[in-house]
Symmetry: C2
Subunit: 229 residues, 2 copies
DNA sequence: CGCGAGCTTGACGTTGTTCAACTAGAGTGG
DNA sequence: CCACTCTAGTTGAACAACGTCAAGCTCGCG
């Protein structure tokens, strides 16, 4: 279950970019009507093919962004952490989401109506450029993902995922937010092979794994494996 | 080799979106300075990792957009035909291209300085939305591509590519602009397997192939193969 | 205590890549 | 005009990489 409540931005503990860039009065009428919504692990924040009505901003927690393919097999593109847009890619897009987002931990988001953001967008150059740049970075990262998934072997792809998570957590030792199956989806491999590679890396002394706690011991080696080998 | 000449938009035989959306005077000074450039087959129009300085608009010919991966292996994302933006994805992006574009036929493009387009962009809502929507469609198509490349077998991927080209040419019979190797890159498979699948499809009576001329005979069947199997 | 979710490992079969050899046609220079 | 060379296309066979299936293990929870 989830709760909703109207939020007032001036009292919001997590003032977001949209609020920061809002003038005191947005012409064209209509107020912001921000809506804070909480989700628990496994709950879907937005669903592929459903219509895009709000810009969603992640305030607390974490979530996975993935595309649903054939037979509902998932490919996990990246993990969202505060404070990032969730609805960003789709904001510029056709009216429907081309991906799904699901909470990994209990999470809170702020939803702002799309129309409001579009009005803000055309009035505020700085905000416009901010959105566009964030968007551009997403595209660049998707391009890299395509290369990784198609041209690296599974060891390289798992190494990539582990390094990605290390950057995300800003530490060489972190708690995996993902199950083995999800880590496999992030690397576009089967759960079984994901486990196998983790075991290999552990036996080779490259990483330490205790349940979901991962520690990278040989970062340079892992980087070499990620680059191909 | 390529030739350059300054062009005047009012006399341009291919007036583009940028021109159509330009007011008579763009405030903030600076004229448009459009530049028409011709390329021959195999010449590179823009190069992955080089800096983005112009918005490029394809006027005549055709070109392939691809990302260069490990060991210079290419993945062909799509084919550009008039009148489409080439530099579009990168316009919103970081200062460097995340892909390369190479002419498939002798082609002509129009280049407009990025700064000019950015000024235009913030002044003209309609143009802004036009760009954003074109951009959004690109993203949606890349998402579908990821699914295709990762979750379909090679028969399905080649079927996909043939159907894609059929939509592009608006005909069930068309001249392949691509070599077998390039058709393989579009499907992210090896040249040899690409040839093999084409032969299979031919023997099964699904397509007719005479050198580069392809005719789809059993479109429904091809669609089924593309959907998996 | 039993059950289910997450994790782990081995064995096996399929899929797709790579290597190698060969053909056809187009372009080039003696 | 013919030998040459280069590119594009084609096919077969060997091999490696992954996915799938099956079995079992652990831990937390009702």
């Amino acid at each position: 279950m989830r709760f909703k409540k109207d939020a007032s931005c001036s009292s919001c503990p997590f003032p977001c970019d949209i609020y920061k860039n809002s003038p005191s009065v947005v012409s064209g009428s209509g107020a912001m009507h921000p809506l804070h919504v909480s989700y628990r692990r496994h709950q879907t924040i937005c669903k592929q093919d459903s219509s895009v009505t709000h810009v969603i901003y992640l305030l607390k927690g974490s979530a996975k962004l993935y595309i649903e393919g054939i037979n509902h097999r998932h490919i996990l593109l990246y993990i969202l952490t505060p404070e990032r847009y969730i609805g960003l890619l789709s904001f510029f897009e056709t009216p429907r989401y081309s991906y799904s987002v699901t909470a990994l931990e209990d999470s809170t988001v702020c939803m702002v109506e799309l129309d409001y953001v579009k009005r803000l967008y055309v009035q505020n150059h700085a905000f416009l450029m901010q959105l566009n740049q964030a968007f551009g970075r997403s595209v660049a990262s998707i391009m890299r993902k395509i290369i990784t998934l198609n041209q690296k072997n599974i060891r390289g792809r798992v190494a990539d995922s582990l390094l990605y998570l290390s950057r995300l957590h800003r530490s060489d030792s972190y708690h995996l937010l993902l199950t083995r199956k999800e880590l496999g989806e992030l690397s576009a491999i089967s759960e079984e092979n994901c486990v196998r590679i983790l075991s290999e890396f552990r036996k080779e002394g490259i990483i330490k794994v205790d349940k979901r706690q991962v520690t990278i011991l040989e970062k340079d080696l892992l980087r070499k494996i990620s680059e191909f080998g």
